[in-house]
């Protein structure tokens, strides 16, 4: 499918101004227009999304049972995989316009990602785990630097997320699951990326720890004004979010046995 963009009504000079200054604040965090994706031709594991926007600063909860295409959607949003057709813009940047390594760099700079569990490299120290994304994201590193030095910033995040002060030197494997999730949150937040993606981050935690975790996470996200996209099957979380969307409402996901198989 070929997307034809309408010609811009503005003179060229405005287009430049719009690109350099206004883009970040004016565009949506996520803007999807009719994408189709299939993992590969052999297994027909297809996903399609019509039109879908996530404005900047939104706290969005995507609800759906497991096996509803969550991981695939997150892979698409973060540019790990590319849709076969359609347009996907993140912060005004079309992902399919970037080369593979450009998308990796883009992801490093603009996304903080928290997985369900096993977020950390178990043999590394907590502080190294938190600082790791900065190795791939110079702009985030510069921002963390400006906030008072990258190590200080990491320690600050760890302590605001309720972790003990001396935890930085510990090996990640020695931490409890709840602590690991907080370290993962610190890693996602460091250098203030624009979008935080969380894939069932609380499902490994018991109820009151869930609440604790979400509280500190939201407080930090509010502080940086980042957009939060959380995926979960837990409807009870809905009250914390500015918008709740059912997976089934925005995408169609088919996992039928392929004819070529």
């Amino acid at each position: 499918m070929l997307m034809v963009r309408p010609p811009s009504p503005y003179p060229a000079i405005f287009a430049i101004w719009k690109d350099s200054v206004g883009k970040r604040s004016l565009t949506d965090a996520v803007n999807v227009r009719g994408i189709e994706f299939q993992w590969n031709v052999r297994d027909s594991f297809a996903l399609s999304i019509g039109a879908f926007q996530i404005p900047r600063g939104e706290r969005l909860l995507l609800l759906g049972p497991s096996g509803s295409g969550k991981s695939t959607l997150l892979s698409l949003l973060t540019g790990i995989v590319l849709a076969q057709s359609g347009s996907l813009e993140i912060l005004g940047q079309r992902l399919d316009a970037l080369r593979g390594s450009g998308r990796d760099r883009f992801r490093a700079e603009h996304f903080g990602i928290i997985f369900q569990m096993f977020n950390l490299l178990p043999y590394g120290t907590v502080i190294d785990n938190v600082l790791l994304p900065l190795s791939f994201a110079p702009a985030r590193r510069a921002r963390a630097m400006a906030a008072g030095g990258i190590e200080c910033e990491a320690h600050r995040l760890l302590s605001t997320l309720g972790l003990p002060a001396n935890i930085g030197r510990q090996t990640a494997a020695t931490l409890s699951v709840g602590q690991q999730q907080r370290v993962a949150a610190a890693r996602a937040l460091i250098g203030s990326p624009e979008i935080i993606v969380a894939d069932e981050p609380t499902s490994a935690l018991d109820d009151h720890r869930q609440q604790d975790f979400l509280d500190v996470l939201f407080a930090q996200i509010d502080a940086t004004g980042a957009t939060l996209i959380m995926v979960s099957h837990d409807r009870r979380l809905a009250r914390h979010f500015t918008r709740v969307v059912e997976f089934a409402d925005i995408l169609t996901f088919s996992k039928t046995a392929g004819s070529n198989r």
Binding site: N40, S75, I80, A108, L131, L134, S135
Partner: protein, 418 residues
């Protein structure tokens, strides 16, 4: 920085497999480099023994055999050269110096050589160094003997000691025990066959055989040492002679003269040429040995590849985490190639270090046992090339798992299938 540190911590986390892999590479490096060292050490040792000699003559035989028994004291002569022929040949104008050698007796497993004072003056080793005396002087009396350094060291002899020679090569053969010799000199170490020899004068060889006929004593006949000293005893025959010519250009024509000598069938060999012949013969064995060591290296490289490949499944999550943080598939692949390279470098370093350690300990043993002096020096160009080849092998061994991880990380996306 952090990525590198985490990669090292990942290795430390798997230290047992990592250590075993390094050990395998290290052993293979030791083997390959060791074989190469022994090979070149053997060549140098052999070549150094005949330094400066232009021609070796002896009774008619193969060139290699003549060289082996005359210079290296391995094996036995088939026949002798009469003293008359020897004198005739060395009186030729092109001859600068000549060392006659008379073999056949022994002392506790070491060979006794009847020769002249020219032996100590003209025999050169390792790039033209002359023989030096660690103690004493050449034989002056009829019953004086000069010991090679190993003979003196192993048997614990010093100047003035009395020793008896045995008839024939075995130490259990009949003894010339009625005529003891006095140690008049001990040679400094050379790393050649001179270390393993006892040197007496040609006349002494004749003297101890005055009372002997065809390998056993003549019953009832005893000639005293003093009586022997007064006898004239011209040598009747020698086993071989090492000859230096005035000009190298005359070597070929001199060789022809000796080979066509009419009075008796003689052979002349050019030591360098005969050595070449010898290396051609043992070259196949050397190549086979080097080939086997190379296969061991290849095996260790396959082990390295298999080790990294086997960790990929458990590191799938690690890779997915790195990818989600913005590491490109190329970075992931580079990490794995880097890991393979690091382990190979560690293996090369530890293997080389271990080899030098082993050489330092084993050097005297190898020298004593095989007469090969392995000089301990910095790796040669050949060694460096071998090590470089191993390093490239290690990098190649990392490419397969790297490619596999590259593919996996592209296909896995954010889903970590565990």
């Amino acid at each position: 920085m952090i990525v590198a540190r985490l990669a090292l911590q990942s290795l430390r986390n798997r230290w047992i497999t990592v250590l075993l892999t390094i050990l395998a590479i290290s052993v293979s490096v030791m083997l390959l480099l060791g074989v190469e060292k022994v090979r070149s050490g053997a060549r140098d040792s052999f070549a150094g023994t005949v330094s400066g000699a232009d021609v070796v003559i002896g009774a008619r035989s193969g060139g290699m055999q003549l060289l082996l028994y005359s210079v290296f004291r391995i094996g036995n002569a088939t026949n002798n050269v009469t003293w008359r022929s020897y004198e005739d040949i060395v009186s030729r104008p092109e001859v600068a110096w000549a060392i006659p050698l008379s073999l056949g007796d022994s002392h506790r497993g070491y060979r006794v050589i009847g020769t002249t004072g020219d032996y100590f003056e003209h025999l050169k080793y390792r790039g033209g160094q002359p023989l030096k005396f660690a103690a004493g002087a050449p034989f002056a009396d009829l019953f004086d003997v000069v010991l090679g350094s190993e003979v003196a060291g192993q048997l614990g002899y010093s100047l003035g000691d009395q020793i008896t020679l045995a008839h024939g090569a075995g130490s259990l053969g009949p003894q010339h025990d009625d005529l003891p010799f006095r140690v008049s000199g001990i040679l400094a170490r050379t790393g050649t066959s001179a270390d393993k020899s006892l040197h007496v004068s040609l006349k002494a060889i004749e003297a101890i055989h005055v009372d002997w006929r065809s390998g056993s004593r003549i019953p009832g006949q005893v000639t005293t040492a003093d009586r022997l000293r007064q006898m004239s005893l011209p040598p009747r025959a020698i086993t071989a002679a090492i000859i230096g010519l005035k000009s190298r250009l005359q070597v070929i024509s001199f060789q022809r003269t000796v080979n066509e000598y009419r009075a008796e069938p003689l052979s002349a060999v050019l030591p360098g040429l005969a050595l070449q012949e010898m290396w051609a013969l043992v070259g196949t064995a050397e190549t086979a040995l080097l080939g086997v060591s190379a296969m061991v290296v290849v095996t260790s490289m396959l082990g390295l590849s298999a080790m990294i490949l086997s960790t990929l499944n458990e590191r799938r999550r690690e890779i997915a985490i790195l990818r989600s943080l913005g590491a490109s598939p190329r970075t992931v692949a580079a990490l794995l190639v880097g890991e393979a390279t690091l382990l190979t470098v560690a293996g090369i370093a530890s293997g080389t270090a271990a080899l030098y350690l082993v050489l330092m300990v084993a050097r005297p043993l190898i020298d004593r046992q095989f007469g090969i002096d392995i000089v301990i020096q910095l790796p040669s160009t050949t060694d460096a090339m071998l090590l470089l080849a191993i390093l490239i092998g290690g990098i190649l061994a990392g490419l397969l798992p790297a490619y596999s991880a590259y593919r996996t990380s592209l296909a896995d996306g954010m889903m970590v299938r565990t």
